[in-house]
Every structure is written in C-alpha cells, then in structure tokens.
Symmetry: C2
Subunit: 351 residues, 2 copies
Amino acid sequence: MKNFDINEDPHRRFNPLINEWVLVSPHRAKRPWQGQNEVISAETLPKHDPNCYLCPGNVRANGVNNPAYKNSFVFDNDFAALKQDEIIFEEDIKHTFFKAEPEQGISRVVCFSPRHDLTLPEMEVSDIENIVKTWQKEYAELGSIKYINHVQIFENKGSVMGCSNPHPHGQIWAQSSLPTQVEKTHNSLKSYYEKNKRTLLEDYVQAELKVGTRIVIENDHFVALVPFWAIWPYETMIVSKRAISKITDFTAEEVTAYSKILRQLTIKYDNLFSTSFPYSSGIHQAPTDGMDHPEWHFHMHFYPPLLRSATVKKFMVGYEMMGESQRDITPEKSAEIIRQQSDIHYKNEVN
Amino acid sequence: MKNFDINEDPHRRFNPLINEWVLVSPHRAKRPWQGQNEVISAETLPKHDPNCYLCPGNVRANGVNNPAYKNSFVFDNDFAALKQDEIIFEEDIKHTFFKAEPEQGISRVVCFSPRHDLTLPEMEVSDIENIVKTWQKEYAELGSIKYINHVQIFENKGSVMGCSNPHPHGQIWAQSSLPTQVEKTHNSLKSYYEKNKRTLLEDYVQAELKVGTRIVIENDHFVALVPFWAIWPYETMIVSKRAISKITDFTAEEVTAYSKILRQLTIKYDNLFSTSFPYSSGIHQAPTDGMDHPEWHFHMHFYPPLLRSATVKKFMVGYEMMGESQRDITPEKSAEIIRQQSDIHYKNEVN
Ligand SMILES: O=P(O)(O)O[C@H]1O[C@H](CO)[C@@H](O)[C@H](O)[C@H]1O
Ligand SMILES: O=P(O)(O)O[C@H]1O[C@H](CO)[C@@H](O)[C@H](O)[C@H]1O
C-alpha cells in the first residue's frame, strides 16, 4: 500500500471538454521500441514545384489554373467530402438501426503561402497574420450561408498525418450539422456556462496559469498548454485568455498575439526532434447557426503523433480503440520538454 | 433538388452502440492518392526465431525463459500499462479541472501459437479453438479478481497497427474501471434492454440478416457483418446470434462456430489485398463486476486501416479528430467486396 503519486502510478484523468477519460501509465515511458519506424523525407523542397497542384500558376485536378497568388489562397476542394446539393429526404422512422441523414456542406483548401517549402514555423509573423485573416474571412463567409451551422478549420501536417502534398496548406469543412466531437464540447461548455456564467476555458486557463507546470507559452492574450487530460504525447491547446467565442471577434492585437503564439509553438515543435513536426491541428469555436454563443471559447487543438523521436510515433490502436486513449509520458513532463525548446528554429540556429 | 440516394450522396449515419455519428462520402471513393504508402515486409518468417521474445524457450525482457509451450501461452506483460499495486487515494474535490484517479489492473500477453509464422487465418480450426478456450480461461480468472471489473481482450496485427513483434499474439488489459468506449456501449445496451427486454444486438443482427447487404459470413451461431455505421473502410463485427453476454457462456458448439467464423473472416481479409491483413480487433462483453448483465451481447470489432491496397491506408486525422469519423466507400460496397473473397487462403491457392 502506498499513497497515490500522479507522476509514478497508473491513473485515469478526466477531460471535462468531452466528458471522457484517458489512461495514464507514467512508469511505462521507458519501454523499448522494436516496432515500425516512420520514414522521414530528407529531400529539400524547392520554393516552387512545377508538379505541385497547390503552387501558384499550376493546373489543378479539375483543369483550372491557380492564380499567381501572393499570400494565402483558398479554393473549393476538387475531391470534397461534402457537397452543396440540396437533397430531398423523408426520414423513415421505422429504421431503428439504419438511421441516416443527408449532409450538406462545402470543403475548401487553404494554401498558407505561395512558397512550396515554407511551413508555419518558418514564416514571419506578418505571413501568419495573413492566414489568420483568411480564416476569419472564411469563417464569416461560410458561416453566413444559411444551411452552414459549423465551420471546421484544420490542418494535416506531414505524410504520417495523411497529408498528401507538402505544400503548406490547411482545409475547411463547413456543414449543416455539428460534428460528433464538437457536439460533445458544445454540451460541456453550455452546461458549465449555465451554471457558472463564465466559460469553462476562461476558468480552466486561470487554474492552469496558477499551477504553471503545463504551460508551454504565455503572451498577453493567449496561452499554449498541454491539457491535464491530453491524450497524444505532445498534444497542446492554444486558448485565448479572454472569453472569445469566435475568430472573427479577435481584436487586431489578438490577431497578432495569436499569430505569434502559433509561430512560437510550431518552432518549439520542430526543434523537439529537429524535424518538420507532424500534427493535425484544428480550431474549435462557436457554431454558425445565427445564435449567440457566450458559452463558446475559442481554442485550437494540436494532436501530434510522435512519441520518442522523428521516426517513432504513438499508436492509438487495440486498447485505445476498444477501451480508451492511453498515454505513457505525463502531460507535465511533456509540457516541460516542449517549453525548454529554443524559440529559434533549428534551421536558423547559428552555431 | 434530388431525392436522397444513400449510395451516392454525402450523409451521416448513426451508431446506436456508442451514440455517435459518422460522415459518409460515397462519391469521394475515386479520389487519387499521392500520399504516404505503407511499407510491407516481404520477408518470409521462420517457424521459430531465436531472437523473438515470444517464441517457446526464448528469454524475455525480464530475464525469464518462456516454457516450451505447445498451444497458446499467456504471461504478464513485462511493460504493463496497468499495475496491481493497491494505491491509497483521497479525492481532492476542489479540483474541478484536475480530476484524476488511480487505476489498478493487469496486462497480459497471449501468444496464439508456438509457431512464429502462423497467423489466425493460417491456423486450423482446432488451433483457434485453443485460443478461444484461453480467452475463456483468462476472462474467468481475471474477472474473478475482486477489483477487476473489466477484461479487454484485443489484438494489434501488423506493424501499421503498432504491433512490434510479428509472432502472432494478442493482449488482455484487465482493470477496475469500465474504459470510456465500453462505458458508452454499456449505457446503450442497458437502455435498449430496459425498454425492449431483448438485447440491442439480438435485434440488430435479425434486422441485418433480413436486409442481407452488409452480411459477410453467417453460420449457425455467428454472423460477421459490416456495421451500418462502420467507420473504417473494411471494418467488421462478429456477433453471436443468441444473446450471450460473455465468452464463458459459449456452448462447445458455439466455441467451434466462433473459431470457424474467425478463421473464415481473417482468410477473406488476407485475400482482399493478398497480404497479411493488418487490424486491431477486440472483444466487447459483460463487465466482471459480479452482477448479472442480461443487456450485454458478445461481439468482436475488427478495425482494419487499409483502404485501397496493401500499402494505402485510411487516415483518421484532422477532420476525423476534430469533427467526426469519415469514410468514402459505403459499408454495403465493402461488405460485398469482403464477401466475394475466396475461403481458401491465397497462400494455399493451387493454380
Ligand atoms: O503493448 P504493445 O504491443 O507494446 O503496444 C501497442 O499496443 C498498445 C495497446 O493498444 C498501445 O498502447 C501501443 O501504443 C502499441 O504500440
Ligand atoms: O483531404 P485530404 O488531404 O486528401 O485527406 C486527408 O484529410 C482528410 C480530412 O482529415 C481525411 O479524411 C483523409 O483520410 C486524409 O488523407
């Protein structure tokens, strides 16, 4: 019999954003790895690739040429998962087990830069501000379409995250329903707000700032931290300090502060294993259903797969799929490791 | 405006086992793939590998030698995610955001065969019966431990599923809490049973047998099907026809029928892309909390990652992580493709 030590003993932690648990096994971090190694492409990318369908001037799958764009560039996905067609549908209520509904939406691609080789951490703050302004414009534009109730902005970075083109880009899937994960968060934020008249994340950020151990970066308007309930080894979340429900409510100062923390976080990520750090990131913010959403609080998730090195990732497989998410390294340890990384990108390090 | 066609139009389907939706984009199945390809090991495995820590007689990480086992062999995981230590814990109720609880449990490894090279689809039915009997024994034994309320039996097959040793084996993680995914299913099964006095899966299997399009294999006691709400391209579920709450309730005939369907399904899987088909599989069955669970209905999930070939997998990334699971090929089409595969393993095909 011994007293519970959260840094040593297997335990579960609770995620109040989605009401789910994660299993943490701190003692297991030292297990040897004999499994699959990821392949890292060592090739240096050109500034412009004539074969890239995202580079300025090149031709896309649908035969259209990209403009000679100078900042970011947005177009409708040529292989969209969602379609704008209006579909006539009569629900068949006899179907207890075969419940299906048509879903209307728009999928877009957002090129971050005309440069084929320039990822977020290698851009200037002003370049990133341009991307943030593009996200604001898209959120406002797509959100104003009558049947669009949710706008999901996200990025898959790196081939290990299913990204099929290294040209820096993200995506936007806008649709009529609240997607499953967003609905969970929506319900949690709503019930917290109704009870406390403050947003859940407003109070959470304050609590984290008080403790300090999971904070990675803090500036005047944003915090980047490893959530207490993080599932991926180096998962982080960027949260606004102020209760802002959506990206279009940012002040000019907040746009800059957000761009800065995005840059600083992704630089630290790249420095961690001296590699272009793969992840999926995504912004969670208020639904675009035309209602007020004081319960919503802007945040951005980063789910990076790497565990021990540029080639060894964490596998969310058998137990994780059937049971629940599981991690070895503690969020506190991860936060410390990311925080300690230099703010100068390893490629620009003068030694 | 057109009428909803589930085979053509983007739609969402509802999973009543966990109360979550999946986005289906049938029209997107033909999009070209320029992303990451998995590496397949072409090497032929030896029957016994002197460097394998799972082969009979060899030494494990903890210095102990494996016995010269003849059928399946079970041992406690040398790098267990769970530990048996009893931990003293006083909950700190002030922690709204930092909720954690120690978790007690046991992790075991189940070697399926002394043969280093023999996967499930290449075994005889009698060999598989031995594995099923081992699962029964472990479920009963671990389940009878006072603090163990859930026994998760699972297999990670293939390096793409994080499996670090090709010697055919599965794992068992037994613990005091119901893991997140199991708890969701538990709640759904319970409320269905309370309302209908039949298990949800008893009625679902009958409904599927009536429709037929998603059935892959049927024998006297079990059905293998692609669930209406499947998220992975070739996901399947093996369900007992009778409402059996746990593996230890199988009759001798059911043990054989289950072994047969396991063999037949994994043979079809291997034949699909003429490769040792990777997947994570896992059994969901009644908790071992000492209570009766008439609402529980034995089923086994197969989550295989491959999409188009032995090297191109489906990535559950950005949208899927932030929004909801998404698939291109319809479950009906997948079922048809798996069903059409030969019942003779491609390695034994005489041509
Ligand atoms: O226990 P193993 O086989 O070493 O590890 C594998 O299965 C575990 C249970 O699904 C996962 O947590 C690991 O990420 C995976 O690599
Ligand atoms: O749209 P892309 O980049 O071709 O595809 C990538 O992102 C999508 C959205 O997360 C996923 O559904 C795909 O599996 C992934 O390969």
